[in-house]
């Protein structure tokens, strides 16, 4: 059983379980599934300054969300400790070849050593990917009013037109990062 669960889950198992997460949050507390709001709540708790955007009762509106993301961290740890096979991610041969051309190898682990290892932070490519990329995720998610969970999954599941526009933006940006920025950064 454990062996079966430890193997990577196919999309038709994972997708419905994510959809179920959306429904569970709504059923338990009437909460809209969203993860990036946790970043706003943390800023509101730690450094609201004079920003009206961060001056609100984060305990009342956001505590459930912070507990939810603490659960995600814990779940990631559980999966790593008990379910990890350590096998490289079985991406398609085309992806493997494309990434090899950029000098990125699909080794063991979920992320590339070339970009995610602590030493990589000192390289221009590693710095841009982790620090500039992370900054854009936080900045863009708040500007758009949600991230992949809030717009792409929950927003579309609630049939929200604004979420569809946001998702087009997500893909436009992602395609530009993949096909324009990464080749420049990695010199491929």
């Amino acid at each position: 059983m454990i062996e079966l669960i430890a193997r990577p889950w196919p999309w038709f198992v994972a997708g419905p379980l994510i959809g179920l997460t959306v429904a569970l949050l709504m059923w338990v507390g009437g909460r809209s599934f969203g993860v990036s709001s946790s970043l706003r709540h943390l800023c509101a708790a730690a450094a609201p300054g004079r920003s009206s955007f961060l001056r609100y009762d984060w305990r009342r509106t956001g505590l459930w969300n912070l507990v939810f993301v603490a659960g995600i961290v814990f779940g990631g740890g559980l999966a790593g400790a008990f379910l990890s096979t350590g096998e490289p991610v079985a991406v398609s041969p085309e992806t493997r070849a494309d990434l090899a051309e950029l000098g990125v190898s699909v080794g063991p682990g979920l992320v590339p050593e070339e970009l995610y290892a602590p030493e990589a932070l000192a390289t221009p490519a590693g710095f841009v990917v982790l620090v500039v990329g992370g900054f854009l995720v936080g900045f863009g998610a708040r500007w758009a009013g949600g991230c992949t969970s809030g717009h792409a999954i929950s927003g579309l599941a609630n049939l929200q037109l604004p979420s569809l526009v946001a998702v087009f933006g997500f893909f436009a940006g992602g395609l530009a990062a993949t096909h324009l920025l990464l080749p420049i950064l990695l010199g491929g």
Partner: protein, 155 residues
């Protein structure tokens, strides 16, 4: 106030509700890791259109969400804490749409670079990927910066 009139997500969460959210988060974290959607490699594969994996995950998640939320509302199942189950619609209309494509595109650039949107950041941190903590800290700085300049941005 009538319990049924409360809108979705308006109230503070009680202790048992927090425990439930911790468990749902844990479940979601395991799903994110086991389905490999947290993987930078899988995100690259998606943006290169070289596998249906990510598209299948996202599409079936939306489909399941639509069905489950419809069932909740169709049969009038309120939330366990008495809240409503219809979220407030997102603001939309002339002059209220630029934030979605402008902010969305910036987010997408970050997603394509890091291969991690916010959910996966947390799951990867728990999994033990130190670089994910760097991404998360940078995302916090990005969020704080947005708060500082938001009055000067089009929305």
């Amino acid at each position: 106030m009538s319990e049924s009139q409360r809108s979705a997500g308006a109230s503070s969460a009680g202790p048992w509700e927090l425990v439930a959210h911790l468990l749902i988060g844990t479940f979601f974290g395991v799903v994110l890791i086991q389905s490999e959607v947290v993987s930078w490699f899988r995100i690259q594969e998606m943006f290169r259109f070289q596998s249906p994996h990510m598209y299948g995950v996202i599409a079936s998640a939306i489909a399941t969400g639509v069905l489950a939320l419809w069932l909740l509302r169709r049969f009038g199942v309120g939330a366990l804490n008495g809240a409503g189950t219809t979220p407030e619609p997102k603001r939309w209309g002339p002059g209220a749409s630029r934030r979605y494509w402008l902010g969305g595109t910036l987010f997408g650039l970050g997603w394509g670079l890091t291969g991690a949107c916010p959910g996966p950041m947390y799951a990867l941190m728990g999994y033990g990927v130190a670089g994910a903590a760097v991404v998360w800290l940078a995302a916090l700085v990005g969020t704080r910066t947005y708060a500082a300049v938001r009055d000067r941005l089009p929305h």
